[in-house]
Amino acid sequence: MTAYAIRRLLQAIVVMLVVAFVAFSLFQYVGDPVQLMLGQFATPVDRIRLTHELGLDRPFYVQYYHFLVNAVHGQFGVSLRIGKPVSVLLAERLPATLELSLCAAIFALVVGIPAGVYTGLKPNSWLARTMLSLSLLGVSLPTFLIGILLILVFAVKLNWLPAFGRGTVVHLGGWTTGLLTKSGLVSLIMPTITLGLFQLTLIMRLVRSEMLEVLRTDYIKFARARGLTDRAINFGHALKNTLVPVITITGLQLGSIIAFSIITEQVFQWPGMGLLFIQAVSYVDIPVMAAYLCLIAVVFVTINLIVDLLYYVVDPRLRVDRPGGAGH
């Protein structure tokens, strides 16, 4: 177990180094910070001095090293647009994005897995057919359109739900949460559905096809011949065997929920990192973009790590045989 975890961890670190390098390159190739900071009328002497002060005249691997050290400490410099440290900006925005993404992920899993199991077990029932057709709709409608439709119906026409924003938030130390107030929770509903719907349909279709596949295997047939109950067969054996692929895809999808949240945050004017990123892009605010890139990478890598460890828990074939545990 430890060796397996360490191996995975090393892989994760390599991935992070590569991503950090890409973020670092942004600084190198997009715009000239010296030019930006000094303005048009600087003398060549000023330029050389500032270049030296910023360490830009040092070999690039030294610069990269410093970038890494700063990044590990959360230092990405100062936002060119807002003038505040990037770390402060992100810390303000992170809770909003994380809460929204988590709600969307839970929504997608809690509805998607049972729906997938049902449509896999009863592929010919009318309910399963309806769910499948609806899921096709969910896959093919663009996210922003779903968001706008929801706003039209539930905010504009029915006036049940707020059209934008996080509602009232509560400050808990450095964290702002919308989960503790009614208006905060109500504000979460539409963005959660908008953000989670695509993943939900994906998870449902995945679980369904995996279930159909597993139900055809010999060990399920043999489990039937052993006289096990439907419940034991469907959930204890079939569903558990679909979990490995489902965990993989789901893990990746959860990562992309956070990435996708850019669009949803835009539609609902959700004060999260995605919105910050969009604004940074239009302003070529390199420090914010670099930090966002690294943060997203951390999220993806962490999820991947968790996925790998879950495999280990679910699938005994990945576990190394205990010494003396007899051969194959």
Binding site: D218, Y219, K221, R224, A225, R226, T229, P316, D321, A326
Partner: protein
């Protein structure tokens, strides 16, 4: 054909079959009685009532181009403790017949006619949950590819305990004790330790033994073994068949043994049913069917027996091939391939007629009018 050959050609266990301790399994204690010495099992049963009684079984597949009849008018019985061998070319309907008995025909296949009785009570068309209780408890099954029969995510112990506790009112601890005993009985070395291992930690032959333990877990009266050794190494096949036969004898379990291997039938079965194009063409005591086959198809099969038993090859094909379900010939379905065909065979379908100790579906054996 009367001499008794050694039970298996290789008295030492194959390498993969040896336990980690390096110890050899004891040679199986129950050498095969000579064929002639075997008593007819049917007469042993007190009231003579068969354990399994299949009458006029008919299995159909509705398709777009009409209904296909894959099994037609199949009638046979198995007495308690009896081993019935079922042979026939690929596609003869052997597996379907077995699946129908345990109620696991896969849709759109369905039992379209006839009845199946277990201990005198109908079990075809039972409600889903009642049939489930019979599976594993009263009829066990071993399938064509036993290597894939174990759920890879659970230890063999938990699969055994699950099966035992599904059918028998036992505590977890008692079920575990029974599971260890079962593993010992099927020849898993160091069973108490191996019980917590996962299927992928066992060799093919060992997994096969685990499958047998699972099939026997709730002590069913009948086991349907559908080509239980086809997927295994030849050297292990004999051991597995020997094991199955020994255990079923000890437990008094009847077996419906489906196989392509006439050698296995000759060694193991009490009676044999020969299937062709979804029908039984001949059924009778194994010695008689082998020594004096009555149906021209069986005669063709047995023509190749000596070599088959020597090197355990599959059934040797007779000229031509079995008809497809969409084009089963009229009259006797074997007539296009039969060297004794005469005019009556072309239009009238023969039923099973008495032919000595056997029964054969052939007009040559029709009682004189």
């Amino acid at each position: 054909m009367t001499d008794v050959r050694p039970v298996h050609p290789n008295p030492l266990p194959a390498r993969g079959e040896r336990g980690p301790s390096g110890g050899l399994r004891p040679p199986h204690p129950n050498p095969l009685p000579a064929r002639g010495e075997r008593e007819p099992r049917v007469s042993e049963t007190g009231d003579g009532r068969p354990l399994l009684d299949v009458r006029h079984l008919r299995i159909e597949f509705p398709t777009r181009r009409g209904v296909l009849t894959a099994v037609d008018d199949v009638t046979f019985a198995i007495a308690p403790g009896e081993v019935l061998g079922v042979v026939g070319e690929s596609g003869a309907g052997k597996s379907l017949t077995g699946a129908a008995i345990i109620g696991l025909l896969e849709p759109p296949g369905r039992i379209a006619g006839g009845e199946i009785l277990l201990d005198g009570a109908r079990i075809d068309h039972l409600p889903h949950d009642e049939m489930r209780r019979i599976r594993g408890r009263r009829i066990g099954a071993i399938f064509q590819d036993p290597l894939a029969s174990l759920d890879p995510l659970y230890s063999i112990g938990s699969q055994l305990i699950e099966t035992i506790r599904t059918h028998l009112p036992m505590s977890e601890a008692a079920a575990r004790t029974r599971a260890v005993e079962l593993l010992q009985e099927v020849g898993i070395p160091a069973a108490a330790r191996r019980i917590d291992h996962y299927p992928h930690q066992f060799s093919g032959g060992m997994r096969q033994r685990v499958v047998i333990a699972l099939a026997l877990a709730a002590n069913p009266r009948l086991i349907i073994a559908d080509e239980p050794t086809t997927a295994l190494d030849v050297s292990i096949q004999a051991q597995i068949i020997t094991l199955l036969r020994r255990l079923c004898r000890e437990y008094g379990t009847a077996v419906m043994l489906i196989t392509h291997d006439m050698g296995v039938i000759a060694e193991t079965a009490d009676r044999v049913a020969v299937m062709y194009a979804g029908r039984i063409v001949e059924i009778g005591p194994v010695a008689d069917v082998i020594r004096a086959p009555k149906h021209p198809y069986t005669i063709g099969l047995m023509g190749s027996i000596p070599s088959v038993t020597a090197d355990r090859e599959r059934l040797v094909q007779i000229d031509g091939s079995m008809p497809r379900l969409t084009a089963i010939p009229s009259g006797c379905p074997f007539h296009p391939r039969c060297n004794r065909v005469f005019d009556r065979c072309l239009n009238e379908r023969p039923e099973l007629f008495d032919a000595g100790t056997s029964r054969a579906a052939c007009w040559l054996h029709a009682p004189l009018p």
